[in-house]
């Protein structure tokens, strides 16, 4: 059996085979890691700790404070800053994006500022945020905000621009004013695009937060891994990286789930596509 791109039978795609291969590959990776560290001792534990050490460190970080907080404390601090920054970006960015699409004049005036925000990478704002706010929550939140804001604006704008003009006409004929048109037609129809923007914003914000925490701060997951580096504790870094990655996945999954709840009229179409 040849399983490659030119093989057009799709039946193998729906089988369990990919799962078996995937699990096998991860298992082999784990075994190699275990063998080379704890069993055969090829690699110095200072360079790469064994899986068991990482798990032990994980348990340890949960109960014992490291660099001022337990793991929960670091996670909480990171989530709090992230929520502040992303929340502000969504509350400000989505209306701005809608207005950009709805009022070309508004867009023409504010676009120059937006372009500057958009093209300077979020991390380049870290130094100026430090200068303005010092090592405070505001610094981190500002960097998250700057990372999340453009995606909110761009996708809201795109969503509104893609609303079929015929719907706007239909609403006008039925006597809708600008307000009702936006509230009942334009925004709901643009909602899926806005949601996509939200997801991008949230993941951009999460990435930027880690970067900001690496540079400045006294608590948070980014700070935790930089402390791991300062204390030559690779296992701490590993725990931090795993926590950062899995929280990112959890947040995105929750958001994806909530989309079907919040936008119920999309369900049949999504099912048809799938």
């Amino acid at each position: 059996m040849r399983i490659n791109f030119l093989n057009r039978t799709r039946s193998s795609d729906s089988s369990r085979l990919p799962l078996i291969y995937g699990a096998g590959s991860l298992l082999v990776l784990l075994i190699l890691w275990t063998l080379s560290t704890s069993v055969l001792g090829w690699i110095d534990p200072m360079t790469l700790p064994s899986p068991a050490e990482v798990v032990a460190r994980f348990g340890n970080l949960i109960v014992e404070p490291f660099s001022g907080s337990t793991l929960a404390g670091h996670v909480g601090a990171s989530l709090y800053r992230w929520a502040l920054g992303v929340g502000a970006a969504v509350l400000l960015g989505v209306p701005v994006g809608i207005l950009f699409a709805w009022l070309p004049g508004f867009r023409a005036v504010f676009n120059p500022i937006f372009e500057v925000l958009r093209y300077i990478p979020p991390f380049a704002w870290v130094p100026i945020a430090i200068l303005w706010f010092g090592a405070s929550t505001a610094t981190q939140a500002m960097v998250v905000f700057i990372a999340a804001f453009p995606a909110c604006v761009i996708n809201a704008q795109l969503g509104v621009q893609q609303v079929d003009p015929i719907l706007v006409r239909a609403a006008r004929v039925l006597g809708a004013g600008q307000g009702a048109m936006l509230r009942r037609v334009v925004v709901p129809v643009a909602a899926p695009a806005i949601f996509t923007g939200l997801r991008i914003a949230i993941s951009n914000g999460w990435m930027a937060l880690v970067g900001a925490e690496l540079v400045v701060g006294k608590v948070g997951l980014g700070f935790l891994i930089s402390q791991g580096q300062n204390n030559d504790s690779v296992s701490t870094i590993f725990v931090g990286i795993i926590a950062i990655g899995s929280l990112g996945v959890i947040i995105d999954t929750l958001l994806q789930r909530s989309e079907t709840v919040l936008l119920p009229w999309r369900k049949p179409r999504a099912q048809r596509d799938g």
């Binding site: 079929d164 039925l174 006597g175 809708a176 009942r184 709901p188 129809v189 049949p268």
Partner: protein, 265 residues
């Protein structure tokens, strides 16, 4: 018979519409005049791209004519509104609202109270045979059902004029036939004033009291054909009507006019 001297319900007077700057842009409609009497069903046919949809858009007030004026009951018509209701080819249902919410939309915009909204909704659902789809979203309905909802959404406003822009153009042939008969029935029972745009000659002959044939772009009115209104065959189903000698004669005459325009392109 209609009293031709009475003030028309809707009148388009010397309408010219340019897209883009005048004389360098595209002239979609050139000096068209058209009067729809109360209770009359007017069909406009013409080759595709002849500006018949533009005529409707201008008539609805959705776009301003470059020249000419729109009169309702002899007075200049204002901005678009529920007294001139429009049914679009692509249904234009609001995807985030259920059938009931879509139909109530216009009533809510006019500030009709909730009880009255509900009463008219129920009535309209019954007329359009949509009772069981009350809480469905448009994406869960077939094209024919969606267009029923769109028609219900227009009719519930009790519009003085109903403008329909190729309403069945996006439907399959079988669904189209059913809805044509439905519209025929509605008009017979409720005497709506209708301006109906179509590219189907059969549809125009079957539905229209008068059929207006437009020329190719720039759209001008080429000919107007009156069809007897209270003939027996119009009361029946379309496939029966289509066998009547008068129907065949009218269809031939109109098709010959349209064909000239298509070939001349």
């Amino acid at each position: 018979m209609q009293n031709q001297q009475s003030t028309p319900k809707l009148e388009l007077r010397n309408i010219t519409k340019w897209f883009g700057p005048k004389d360098t842009g595209v002239c979609a409609v050139d000096n068209c005049s058209l009067a729809v009497q109360k209770g009359e069903f007017i069909c406009v046919v013409g080759p595709s791209g002849c500006g018949k949809s533009t005529l409707m858009t201008v008539g609805a007030g959705l776009e301003q004519p470059t020249e000419g004026e729109i009169l309702v009951d002899g007075k200049p018509a204002g901005p678009p509104g529920p007294q001139r209701s429009v049914v679009f080819q692509k249904f234009a249902l609001f995807p985030s609202e259920t059938v009931a919410q879509n139909i109530k939309f216009g009533l809510q915009m006019c500030g009709v109270d909730a009880k009255e909204q509900e009463r008219r909704l129920v009535e309209q659902l019954k007329i359009m045979k949509l009772e069981q789809f009350r809480d469905a979203y448009p994406s869960e309905l077939s094209g024919g059902m969606q267009q029923r909802v769109a028609i219900a959404r227009s009719l519930v406003m009790q519009p003085e004029i109903l403008l329909m822009d190729e309403p069945f153009g996006a439907l399959d042939a079988q669904t189209r036939t059913i809805l044509q008969e439905e519209v025929q029935r509605l008009h017979r029972e409720h005497h709506y004033t209708v301006l109906f745009i179509t590219h189907s000659v059969e549809e125009a002959v079957y539905l229209g009291d008068r059929v207006i044939v437009m020329s190719r772009r720039p759209g001008r009115i080429k000919k107007e054909i009156s069809l007897p209104r209270d003939v027996v065959w119009k009361r029946g189903d379309i496939e029966v009507a289509a066998e009547h000698p008068d129907f065949i004669a009218a269809r031939r005459e109109i098709w010959a006019l349209v064909r000239e325009e298509i070939i001349a392109q």
